[in-house]
Point group: C2
């Protein structure tokens, strides 16, 4: 009888690994270093060795393992092929084929942001729902779209690449993607700091942000302390993101938006600013979508990877 | 052996009906008047009588019919229930349950715009593809989203309601939906006429549009005649729509955009204006999405309805 599965989340510096039972309880968690040298060619063999080692250590029979799920920081097509994944120095890699050859265990693969979205839907902020838009506010803005419990990976692996939705014509500085005016440029941690620097430069108004570091964290700390300038920054952030989410809602009409990533540590106040503008701009039928904070943190990837298998 | 199915497209004035073989060839097409009186309570019985009559007329056995597909001008949930459909005077109707009771034939139901999108994917401008965003430019702007050959209907039946994506803060006149600045207000036939009237009012520049009717048709006729003012209107339309489509592409990353509705009679020039801005704003991976004109016209609904069954 099948009892176990593995959820693997490959990042640029660390590979997170989880052993799960088929109910989705995590039985063991560990990490590997991501060896990006030699075009990242050690990554899948390292993962395979670690999985086979864990199977030995726990005296699990290979026949008891349903499969391996693996999230990759790059586009993954329907056949589990990655054309390129710059953060782990990969060119074209056939993940599923290679992992199955290395381990003899059925493998499923997906983009890391999409897989994390599936994790949050299963066991995190979106638990109990079936259609979700996940927004990860970190250095960039990532996303994942789930409809009826299925990841929308996209034709070019760009499903859920919401950080690169165009939201502002006035921005002339290029985004990392080469375009100008992307959501990522105004709603990521970096984007929020940028909005704060603009507000600070526009006047001499006193603000807690004038002393010390200007970051998404210090902006929301200042918001909580009632700082007027920081609140204006939060309004601008909320308007950009809330409006963009209202546009995405016209496409897939999700039950729930889950907001994660480092910026989400600001807590419920963050949702207040986003929802205020979402409700203003959203199509009537979509206005009552639920907003929730992500709850799985860095474990969302291993949960989602396991969910792909089960 | 199952050989036939019916595709039904319920509109506000006419009900279009098609008898198909299971290869998707249309064997017969006919129309019924939509009787909206008495809260549209005659509509499903009229459709059922017509289908049963056709089965008799053609000496088809009921056991040879795979099913009935029906498109409705309103939101349809996963169980085939319509909460309300104003154009046909419906309150809450359980379409599937009622049609199956009336005909004894398995029934599938969907929103008319989504069903038309499925028709264009199957036999029209999107034939050969599996993931599509359909844009219907008529009096309003409708849409339909297909991913891996499946309609994205949405939690509240608002999947593909792209006409109500917010695209312009400067518009203060309300849209039919109650919000301001919807895509429909600048990219529908009505919206294009509105942009043209704005351009005409802004200067005394000579234009073909200064004599006679100002409509989406006369605007694109003038564009083809090289009218500078009309070309500016087309640029504004193309920028609004192309940019909006680039944002939608970040969500589902489709293979193809199919543009239909009355405005699409302008032909390939319409696609030129849309694609120019789409390619400018789209995320790198999505830039090469295909653009095509719809080809099924008013028959897209019956084709899509039949496709739901097969």
């Amino acid at each position: 009888m099948k009892k176990y599965c593995f959820g693997i989340d490959v990042g640029g510096t660390t590979i997170k690994c989880g052993l799960f039972d088929t109910e989705g309880n995590v039985l063991d968690k560990w990490e590997l270093k991501t060896r990006v040298e030699e075009n990242g060619s050690h990554i899948l063999p390292d993962v395979a060795d670690s999985i086979l080692g864990k199977i030995d250590e726990r005296k699990i029979k290979k026949s008891e393992v349903v499969g391996i799920g693996i999230g990759i920081p790059g586009p993954v097509d329907n056949r589990g092929e990655v054309p390129v994944a710059v953060n782990i120095h990969w060119g074209h890699v056939q993940i599923i084929e290679e992992m199955e050859r290395l381990t003899g265990i059925t493998t499923h693969a997906g983009n890391d942001a999409n897989v994390a979205a599936l994790g949050e839907l299963w066991k995190g902020g979106g638990a109990g729902y079936h259609s979700l838009i996940m927004v990860t506010l970190g250095t960039g803005v990532g996303g994942g779209i789930i409809v009826n419990d299925k990841i929308i990976g996209g034709t070019h692996g760009a499903g859920g690449e919401i950080g690169h939705a165009h939201v502002e014509d006035a921005i002339t500085e290029p985004c990392n993607c080469g375009n100008c005016g992307c959501l990522e440029q105004v709603a990521s941690a970096t984007g929020i700091a940028r909005l704060a620097r603009e507000e600070l430069a526009a006047s001499d108004e006193p603000s807690l942000l004038r002393s010390g570091e200007v970051s998404a964290r210090t902006v929301f700390d200042a918001v909580k302390a009632g700082d007027a300038l920081a609140c204006r920054v939060a309004e601008r952030f909320g308007k950009y993101l809330g409006k963009a989410l209202s546009v995405f809602a016209c496409v897939t009409d999700p039950e729930v938006f889950v907001i994660g990533g480092g910026v989400s540590k600001a807590g419920p106040v963050l949702l207040d600013y986003i929802q205020k503008y979402y409700r203003q701009y959203a199509f009537t039928a979509c206005k009552d979508a639920v907003f929730a904070l992500a709850t799985l943190g860095n474990d969302a990837g291993i949960y989602g990877a396991a969910r792909m298998v089960l």
